[in-house]
Symmetry: C2
Subunit: 386 residues, 2 copies
């Protein structure tokens, strides 16, 4: 593969954007990335999106957004891998540039979720699960995660409050991220008392949906110079793996084997080990997923993910492996098909040292992991400041 | 780009498969391609599909189908570009292998359309058009094409019967394709008298939808030997381009500029000119699209596409540029997200000389063109027997 670097990034605030259409928020992030990169006409466009056909009645988002952002005539396509769509689009763009077919690619992750009633969106999100064997039983996406969390607590002896540090850390970091949906510090007491959604998952275990878009411009690495105060951001590792779609088909529903495999391949490709990772933008759609992701990527022993939170190892200040440094899905928000691109953008912000009070000191190598479904599609990217 | 070859192909009959689920028809085509290629565990899977979220309630088809065909743990993703999804998935797989990230890829185009009522499917197909500016006006996909055809007839002075040869040719060729949905010879009289759908498009101008899947295995070309009676099938040209999503935004709604651009790029990449193309699997979703595609790719002057049919130039026997040699969308059928992969499979069948009575004599170079929306996303592939 021809080495690739991230030249520009852009993002919108995550919110209920009643006054803006999907194309407007996609354009906002795309133009910001193009301006940041100084690239007006990228060769190709890759869009990550999950719900637009179901919530917005719009398919063919490649041509749709290319049209809107003035990429007339350029190649454009849409990639969908449920909540992993953003990183899947990034990886598709990466292969296009790495293959030599393109010298620049714009990747946009975008989702507009709040135009429909909540129960419609819940039903749309359930299309990430197995329609024939899971959804048919009446399960929703949160109840599927609730079953996993309940089993995990039973198997490894954790109580609900032990997951609080994941949520508290994410909320604390989001306070300093102007693009985050939620800006409120929370306590263990609030975490324990928040409204139940699907036992044992309560409101503060769960990430809020929202409307948002995040974008990046990538180019061959040899076209990017490392400037004083602005390092070159290389895509050092990129890998994807899958697991069974239905959770009940897995030998071990408490182990994210696709996270294990994709992180292993990404470490190998980047020539790093997990202790070389300075911070980790993980996919905390529910707090249980933060624990499972940390375990599968080698940061914690099996069943011991919550310990990292309880022992303050996930914090930016002095933590061994700071996570969700811009708020994570929990507090930055989770516009599903856009999330993977928010994670990439946030890793770039850290590596460029643009994160103010939540800057990870000396951050050189950052990792992002994006999960589709209950762990069925998992993509891991490692970026390096050079 | 590292050169890539098609090693194996597979397809299902296009029909109303009431007895089979989407995963079963996808698996049927995938297993056939894997067996044909002698590849049991491809490195990655690329799925082309448009309607599954809307018609089947199932997203994340990458992991979904990887799971079903036993590609546990492998990378898998879904690509959507409306009716151009099949070729878009093929091109994504191509870039993955060309970049060196994979040494083999399985591409599956699949669509299950007949599980819902016709009006639901019509509404789902309309998501290929612009939801805000076209669909909002009450237009359907066929009425959008009817407006284009009506304007074309007015501008260039053609009458409806002049389009008959496209349909007659497709039906005649489908008689010898066991995978085709329709097996009936038709006449000009039948063409003129068939039921009106949206003036001037009648039933015999329009392709039938259906359930079906088509698949291919691609590998680096240097891993394939040319054997006696089984040539190596190289992917010599591949390109994609877009146009405005809404037809009314185009300077000239009667010219498929994305077909022009993607065919031009594909010719250049393959090092061929249009007269070198021995046959052309074009996207005759409606007969007007056959005419526009031939014009944009250089086979006819502007406004003169129908002449090729009237002068018998599109026939297999003695035609200058045989089209729809296996029945085209019109008679083989149009399972939308699968169609682009049916075209690729059919080009390979011709180049391998497996087409019996509809074999194009001495076919060495074949072209496939797949169209998403009313020309918004267009992909062109050129394959060569070596």
């Amino acid at each position: 593969m021809r080495p690739v670097a991230v030249l520009g990034i852009g993002q919108t605030v995550i919110d209920e954007h009643w006054d803006k259409s999907l194309r407007e928020i996609a354009g906002e992030a795309a133009f910001a990335a193009m301006q940041d990169a100084g690239v007006e006409h990228p060769d190709g466009l890759f869009v990550g999106n999950m719900l637009s056909p179901l919530v917005g009645g719009q398919n063919q988002l490649g041509a749709f957004i290319a049209d809107w952002v003035g990429m007339w005539k350029a190649e454009a396509t849409k990639i969908e891998a449920a909540c992993g769509s953003g990183a899947a689009a990034f990886r598709a763009g990466l292969m296009a540039v790495a293959s030599g077919e393109m010298d620049s690619a714009l990747i946009v992750g975008v989702e507009k979720m709040t135009d429909k009633a909540g129960h419609d969106v819940t039903a749309a999100l359930a299309t990430a699960a197995d329609a024939d064997y899971e959804v048919e039983q009446g399960i929703s996406f949160v109840s599927l995660n609730a079953l996993i969390m309940r089993r995990y607590m039973y198997e490894f002896g954790w109580k609900h409050a032990d997951f609080a540090p994941f949520s508290i850390n994410a909320h604390a970091n989001a306070l300093h991220n102007p693009f985050a949906r939620l800006h409120e510090r929370i306590t263990v007491e609030q975490f324990e008392k928040s409204a139940m959604v699907a036992t044992p998952i309560n409101l503060l275990d769960a990430s809020p949906i929202g409307d948002g878009a995040a974008a990046a411009i990538i180019v061959p690495a040899d076209q990017v110079r490392s400037l004083p105060g602005r390092p070159r951001i290389a895509v050092a590792g990129s890998a994807a793996a899958t697991d069974t779609l239905a959770v009940h088909s897995r030998k071990d529903p408490l182990f994210l084997s696709a996270a294990y495999l994709s992180s292993k391949r990404a470490y190998e490709m980047a020539g790093v080990e997990r202790m070389d990772i300075d911070f980790f933008e993980l996919h905390d759609a529910f707090s249980i997923m933060a624990a499972l992701s940390l375990e599968a990527c080698g940061f914690a022993e099996r069943g011991q993910g919550p310990r990292l939170g309880l022992e303050n190892k996930i914090r930016i200040a002095g933590g061994e492996i700071p996570v969700c440094t811009r708020g994570g899905l929990k507090a930055r928000g989770h516009p599903v098909g856009a999330t993977g691109m928010y994670q990439i953008v946030e890793v770039v912000q850290q590596l460029r040292r643009e994160c103010g009070p939540t800057q990870v000191d000396g951050a050189k190598i950052g990792m992002a992991q994006n999960i589709g479904g209950s762990g069925a599609t998992i993509l891991t990217h490692i970026l390096k400041a050079e």
